[in-house]
Every structure is written in C-alpha cells, then in structure tokens.
C-alpha cells in the first residue's frame, strides 16, 4: 500500500468537506431553473471555476496523458485547438451569445424553439444516449488511477468507485446546479493545485532533457509534428477544429454553464478565460504522459511505442502516468494529489450526471408527456423527474462504467461517441441561428446522418477516427442543406419568445 496515514487523513477530510458543502446548496433551491441553471446567477469567476472543473476530471488527465505517452509532443496540437477554439468562441460570442439570450436550460430545448417538438425529442434521445455512453467509461478509468496511485488493491475498485458515485449523487440530487457550482469552486481550487504540483514533480524528477530526448529517439519527427504523425495529419486537425467548435457550444454540460451565467456578456468572458485554462488542461497532463514514457518506456513495441515496464510488469500506456505518480510523489503530497484528482472526478461526474439527466427529463420525458396530451408538470414535478433521472443515469453508469473497456486510445473513443450527436446538433444549431432557409426536415436529416456517419464507419467499417469524424460532420451538413432546401423553411418563434422574456410557456 503506497498511502500513508497522512495521505488518508487528507483524502477523507476532503471527501467529508465536499459532501457537507454540497449538501448546503439544497437550502438555496427554489424552482427548476435553480436546479438546472443556478437561477442564472453565475458571475465571471465562479463561472470560470465551474466550467473548468466540469471539463477537467481524472478521466481528462488519464486520456491526455495516454495521448502524450503514445504520440509525444505532437499530441499538444489537440490541446492547442481546444483552447484556441474556446477563446475564439468567447471573443466572438459565436452561438453562445444567442443561446444565452434565449434563456434555455438544455441544448435540445433550442430544437423546439427553432424547429419542432418532435425534433427536440429525437435530439434529446441522441444527446442522452451519446452523452451517457461517453460518460460510461469514466468510472473504470478513474478507478484504475486511484488504485495505482493509492495502492488500494484492485479487488476493492468496484466498492471504492461506487462509494464515490454515491457521494456525488447525494449532493447532486439534493441541490442540483447550486450544489454543483458550490462544490465545483472548491474542487477547482484543489484540482488546479494538484495539476501544478504534478507538473513540477514530473519535470523535476524526470528532467526536461530526458523527456525531449526520449521522444526524439522513440518517435523522431512524428513525436513533434502533428502533420508528420501518422495518427494525426490534416484530417485530424480539421476534424478537431469542427469537434471543438461543437463541444464548446453544444455539449450539454458546457452549455449549461453558459445558460447559467448572469448575462450573455459574462458568458463570453467565462468562455474566453476558460479557453486559456484549456490549453493547460490538455498540455500539462500530456507532458506527464511523456515524462512517464521517458521513465518507464522500455517494454516491447506496441503500435510503434514501447510499453511501460513497472517493477518488471508491462502496463497499458494509459496506466503509465499514475504508476509514475505512485513512484515520484512523497507522503502528504500524494494525499493532496489524490484529493485533487478525486475533486476533479467528483466535479466532472456530478456535472455530467446533472447534464444528462436534465436532457432526459426536460427533452425526453416532458415533450413525450405533451405529445401524449398529458397535463404539464409543475416546477416541483419537474424537480422530481430530474432527480429520478439522476438516479437512473447513476445506476447505468455503475453497471456499464465498471465493466466496459473502450478499444484503442480513450481520447479518440470519447471523441467518436460525442460526434454521434454533436455533428448533427452543431450543424442544425448553426443553420438555425444563421440561415433563414433552415427547416425541420434538414434538422432531422442532419441528426440522423451525423449519427450514422459516426456509428457505421467507426463501429462497422473500422475506418480510423479522423476520417470517421470528418465524415460525420460532412454527412450532417449535406443532410441539413438538402433537407432544408427540399422541405419548407421553419419560422423561428425565437423573436416572440425573446420579447416575452424567455420560454415561459414551456415551464
């Protein structure tokens, strides 16, 4: 066991504090808009903290470190694109300003405002399906990190991860977005300190010269240039730009922070500053992965990269970074880092639980009730549906997340499952906001062709991720344009809704 008593005290204190603070949020809860978008009262600094904490988890550290281990400095291109795209969207207000003006609570809600209730339902189903499958791999990978760094025997993995999930669930169900924002703030502080500590330790222990040398001798030019790297190239870069444009605007958990800000102006500033954090969110853990390659990369070659050898055993590349942390961090520091990683895990999981269950309740259950002619639910009734959806999403995650292992690099798997709905959603949102000819038939075709373009090539034809991702966005765009030109344009009821101060009749 690598953990000392001091490390355990730090971690348990953090967990107890997090739960207490999270449960405090319940007393500020009034109606469903408090539960889902914190009453739209997010200021700049808390907005940055909650957006960053939502998208920085142990899973993020793990897959970015794996990318660094497998592809060297060339992987930095993905981090660079994510940050620069965010800064661009923040500076221009592309999509997010209009979204915030509409006072939405979920992304699929826009599809009813602009197109039709039926399209909202279809989008809601695809968003929930893609999102939950995407989140489905988190628990197992986060559990691997914890067992390797803390030295907890692997047989306790299920119990540990179930316990953590229950803690998150408790405060998320009780206080919704208010609790999530309060805990995110403290969790952001802790995870950032851990990130900085690990970076300093990695470079100090392994040495910058050794890191650069190892990439040079192992990968050559492909370890530095994303163009020369056989896994990346121009198609990868183009797909990543499209993907990140869609993630920062249409990904439910990111969009919920934008919907929660006090004004469209604050939403733009939150996005811009978080863009700078996103540069480090990608590059710093990638650097840890490269450091782990320099430290342990002496095994047999796997896809051109030596497997990590730790105490005579070959590990998977994704496990090299936690194995390095277990070796280089001393007592106390290891406790702080694990508490920081737990903070990262809990902030992501609680936000994702809330995000996907919000889509199930607001965009699947509620529209279905209206289509079936049932009476509209009160705000209290909607809260109950949201909480029940939260429970079901958690149950699914426990069973799927702990037993399913994704094939290949986790980052690319997550990108493809996200593309299933992001391709169609992004094209339909851009078309709906900026093209008068946009129509409901185009929206349906974009969602269906985007999903087919991601699922069929990747899972059945086994094309590589870059071409698959590019094909999904291309097919969604073709479907949207063709459907909109063939069908009738749909008049947006957005202006009327803006004039009445939001979507009151939907709540």
């Amino acid at each position: 066991m690598s953990f000392t008593i001091l490390d355990w005290v730090i971690v348990i204190t953090y967990l107890a504090g997090s739960l207490t603070v999270g449960l405090l949020g319940k007393k500020y809860l009034g109606d469903v808009s408090h539960y889902l978008v914190a009453g739209r009262e997010l200021g700049l600094y808390v907005g940055i903290a909650t957006l960053a904490a939502t998208e920085i988890g142990t899973i993020t550290f793990m897959y970015n470190a794996e990318l660094g281990y497998r592809f060297g400095f060339a992987a930095f291109a993905a981090a660079m694109i994510s940050g620069v795209v965010m800064i661009f969207v923040g500076r221009t207000g592309f999509i997010i300003s209009r979204f915030r003006q509409l006072k939405l609570m979920t992304v699929p809600e826009y599809f009813e405002v602009r197109y039709s209730r039926g399209l909202r339902l279809v989008t809601g189903i695809l968003v929930a399906l893609g999102g939950i499958l995407n989140m489905g791999v988190f628990l197992k990978i986060e559990g691997e990190f914890l067992t390797i760094v803390s030295g907890i025997p692997a047989r306790y993995l299920v119990a540990v991860m179930t316990g953590i999930l229950l803690l998150e669930l408790l405060y998320t169900v009780a206080g919704g977005m208010v609790s999530v924002v309060i805990t995110d703030f403290f969790q952001y502080a802790l995870l950032s300190i851990a990130t900085i500590l690990v970076t300093i330790y990695s470079v100090h222990f392994v040495g910058w010269g050794n890191i650069v040398h190892k990439v040079t001798v192992t990968m050559g030019a492909a370890g530095f240039s994303p163009i020369a790297s056989p896994k990346f190239g121009w198609t990868f870069l183009a797909w990543q730009i499209l993907l990140w444009l869609s993630i920062v605007t249409c990904w439910q958990t990111t969009a919920m922070r934008i919907f929660s800000t006090r004004s469209p102006e604050i939403s733009k500033r939150v996005m811009t500053w978080t863009g700078f954090i996103f540069l480090g969110r990608g590059m710093l853990p990638m650097l840890w992965g490269i450091a782990a390659l320099a430290l342990f990369g002496s095994g047999v070659l796997d896809k051109g990269v030596p497997l990590p050898m730790v105490h005579g055993h070959a590990l998977a590349p994704i496990d090299a970074m936690p194995a390095m942390l277990a070796q280089i961090l001393g007592p106390g520091v290891r406790g702080i880092v694990v508490a920081g990683m737990l903070a990262a895990t809990m902030s992501v999981n609680s936000s994702y639980l809330l995000g996907w269950s919000a889509v199930i309740s607001q965009d699947v259950v509620l529209p279905l009730r209206r289509i079936m002619g049932k009476q509209q639910l009160s705000s209290r009734g909607q809260l109950v549906v949201n909480r029940v959806a939260n429970l079901f999403v958690s149950l699914f995650l426990m069973f799927w997340g702990l037993y399913y292992t994704p094939p290949g690099a986790v980052y690319l798997y997550l990108n493809i499952t996200g593309t299933i709905f992001l391709a169609g959603a992004f094209v339909s949102v851009v078309g709906g906001l900026y093209w008068k000819r946009a129509g409901t038939l185009g929206g349906y075709l974009a969602m269906l062709m985007g999903a087919a373009g991601a699922i069929i090539p990747f899972f059945f034809l086994h094309w590589n991720e870059n071409v698959t991702g590019f094909a999904a966005f291309g097919l969604a765009a073709v479907g949207f344009c063709a459907g909109s030109l063939i069908g009738r344009p749909t008049s947006p009821n957005r202006e009327g809704m803006l004039a009445t101060g939001g979507l009151k009749e939907l709540r």
């Binding site: 009453g39 808390v46 703030f185 954090i277």
Partner: protein, 48 residues
C-alpha cells in the same frame, strides 16, 4: 523538428503560466462572486 520543439516548449510555458495565473485570480475573486450568487438566489426565493 527543431522548430516544432521550440514552438511546443513556448506553448507549454504560456499554457502552464496562464493556468497558474488564472487559478490564483479565480480562487482570490471567486469567494465574493459565490456569495453574491447565493444572495441573489435567496432574494429570488423570497420574491417567489
């Protein structure tokens, strides 16, 4: 290759520096921001 190495080294320094700087500012100014959010929520609850 040498240019890429210089470019990524510079990018890493800027990213790491920005990450640390924004973290300090957000921790410093986030407390009052959070308290204001909770005050506003309480006010909304009283109005309803």
């Amino acid at each position: 290759m040498r240019y890429w190495e210089i470019f990524w080294t510079a990018s890493l320094l800027v990213s790491g520096g920005a990450f640390a700087f924004i973290t300090v500012v957000v921790i410093w100014k986030g407390g009052p921001d959070l308290r204001q959010m909770l005050r506003q929520l309480r006010k909304q609850n009283l109005q309803n």
